[in-house]
């Protein structure tokens, strides 16, 4: 079955209206319910939330030497903040799930297919 990456991107320096505790609790609850549903329907593969991009380190080789640098790889203002890896029959099924998640967290989600997966 095809796999998709559902990724949530955070924008550096973007100030969002702070959520009230009540809103935050409700958002967590909705997300928890969606994740439970994903697991029971067999769509859930893996998910995770990442620390801020400034905690990232990049490793590369240059002239046979390993070079380690502080900071994220992409020189952009948008960074991956968290993701789901899901199994879905087709793009419509993946988009329907992404629509539920985006409604719960009020942040856009990028849906991208995996080139190949171990169970294909």
């Amino acid at each position: 079955m095809p796999h998709y990456l559902l990724s949530v991107h955070s924008v550096e320096g973007q100030v969002r209206e702070p959520m009230t505790e009540e809103d935050m609790r409700r958002s967590h609850e909705r997300l928890g319910a969606i994740e439970q549903e994903m697991k029971s329907s067999g769509m859930w593969v893996f998910s995770g939330r990442l620390h801020q991009a400034d905690t990232a380190t990049v490793v590369r080789t240059a002239g046979g030497q390993t070079v380690t640098t502080d900071g994220p790889f992409a020189e952009s203002k948008e960074h991956l903040g968290g993701f789901y890896i899901i199994r879905a029959g087709d793009l419509d099924a993946a988009l329907a799930l992404a629509a539920k998640v985006t409604a719960a967290i009020d942040t856009p989600i990028e849906v991208r297919p995996f080139a190949a997966t171990s169970d294909e």
Partner: protein, 400 residues
């Protein structure tokens, strides 16, 4: 005879292309495999039919030949052998028969794939023309004023995304239709208007009407699909009157109504009446109804403007866009005079839209404000795409 025969075969091929291709995609689950096979079948048909004449069912011959060619080729290519295993699976996975036992046309599935919201609007249009309209990549490129290689790239990328992201090849379920039908209707309407404003591409309009007929026939429960077909038929009925012998544009009010196609009008008006009886109005049905009112008037002076304004009021309630407001104001101008129309139009934020300036120019001319009218015609001509409409605006500017 040979050229004539080739042209006749080319015409049949274009008419049958979408049906054959859609069926093969259903069978093999792969657009590229289906395209190659249908192309190969066409090459074979050209040789065979020129020598032996047409078979009794040319469309069926193309589909069967293409299917056999595709199976042969897939057998030869071990790399793609797994597709053969899937072919049977996909075939049995097809939609269950609808009421009355009618098998839904594969082309309907294909149009929903081409117009999937995960594809950019311009890509939706290009794919629809290429895969359902049977236009060559070069023809699609010319319709949109881009190079053939740019269009080829756009199509390759779109097909890659359909395959990689698994954009489904099926008719959306009822609860999905409110989101999925509007882009299909918008793509067809956009292709029609593109064909209408580029005189070299009038074949496009015929293709769109063919696809709109198909959509309306295959989705009898969707009044907006019928509405789009009626709108296109009624617009098409005025084609012959829309241009003067020298190719210049003739406005609706000045057209020779004797040159309107009565057959298309009757067909369009009958659909509008059925839509009214059904009473589930939508933007395309209302635009069709407005055109039906125009078609009823033997002369421009007989036009029932109050009814047209009432229909625009209804349309504006459903689709409150500045373009609808502009057209409503133009109708008010015909009924209440240019001053009230100009007051309404000057409140609209449509500075980049050439029909806005053209409408202002016409109202200013009627108010004898010739200098202002001239400036508005010039502004409209600068924004209009090259073609008869721009020529018309340039000419009017000089005489305003």
């Amino acid at each position: 005879m040979t050229t004539e025969g080739q042209e006749a075969i080319g015409r049949i091929f274009r008419e049958e292309y979408g049906r054959s291709l859609a069926m093969l995609i259903g069978l093999f689950g792969d657009i590229d495999v289906a395209e190659d096979a249908v192309q190969e079948a066409y090459t074979l048909a050209l040789d065979k039919w020129l020598a032996e004449g047409l078979p009794p069912n040319p469309g069926g011959w193309i589909t069967t030949t293409a299917r056999n060619r595709a199976i042969d080729r897939l057998r030869r290519q071990t790399r793609e052998r797994h597709l053969l295993g899937e072919a049977a699976l996909l075939a049995s996975d097809s939609e269950p028969a609808q009421e009355g036992g009618a098998v839904p046309d594969d082309r309907l599935r294909l149009i929903f794939t081409c117009c999937h919201p995960a594809l950019a609007a311009e890509t939706q249009v290009a794919l629809t023309l290429r895969l359902l309209g049977g236009l060559s990549t070069d023809e699609v490129a010319r319709s949109f004023l881009v190079t053939e290689s740019a269009m080829a790239q756009r199509l390759v990328r779109a097909k890659r995304k359909i395959k990689a992201a698994r954009i489904p090849y099926r008719i959306p379920s009822d609860h999905e239709l409110p989101d999925r039908l509007p882009p299909v209707l918008a793509v067809l309407y956009l292709i029609y208007t593109t064909g209408q404003s580029s005189p070299g591409e009038r074949g496009l309009c015929g293709e769109v009407i063919r696809l709109a007929r198909l959509l309306a026939a295959l989705m009898p429960d969707e009044p907006e699909a019928a509405g789009l077909l009626a709108l296109l038929l009624l617009t098409e009925s005025r084609r012959a009157a829309r241009t003067a012998p020298d190719g210049s544009l003739v406005l609706l009010g000045e057209q020779d109504r004797g040159h309107w196609d009565r057959g298309l009008i009757e067909e369009g008006q009958a659909i509008v009446r059925r839509c009214l009886a059904r009473d589930r109005p939508g933007p395309y049905q209302l635009q069709a109804a407005i055109n039906a009112v125009h078609a009823d008037a033997p002369t421009a002076a007989d036009t029932d403007w109050p009814q047209i304004i009432a229909l625009y009021d209804h349309l504006y309630a459903l689709a409150p866009t500045p373009v609808v407001a502009l057209n409503r104001a133009i109708a008010i101008g015909e009924s209440h005079g240019p001053v009230s129309a100009l007051t309404l139009i000057d409140q609209l934020d449509l500075d980049q839209y050439y029909p806005f300036h053209a409408a202002r120019a016409d109202l200013l001319r009627r108010l004898n404000r010739h200098r202002d009218a001239d400036a508005a015609y010039q502004r409209a001509a600068t924004l209009a795409p090259p073609g008869p409409e721009r020529d018309f605006l340039n000419r009017s500017g000089r005489t305003a």
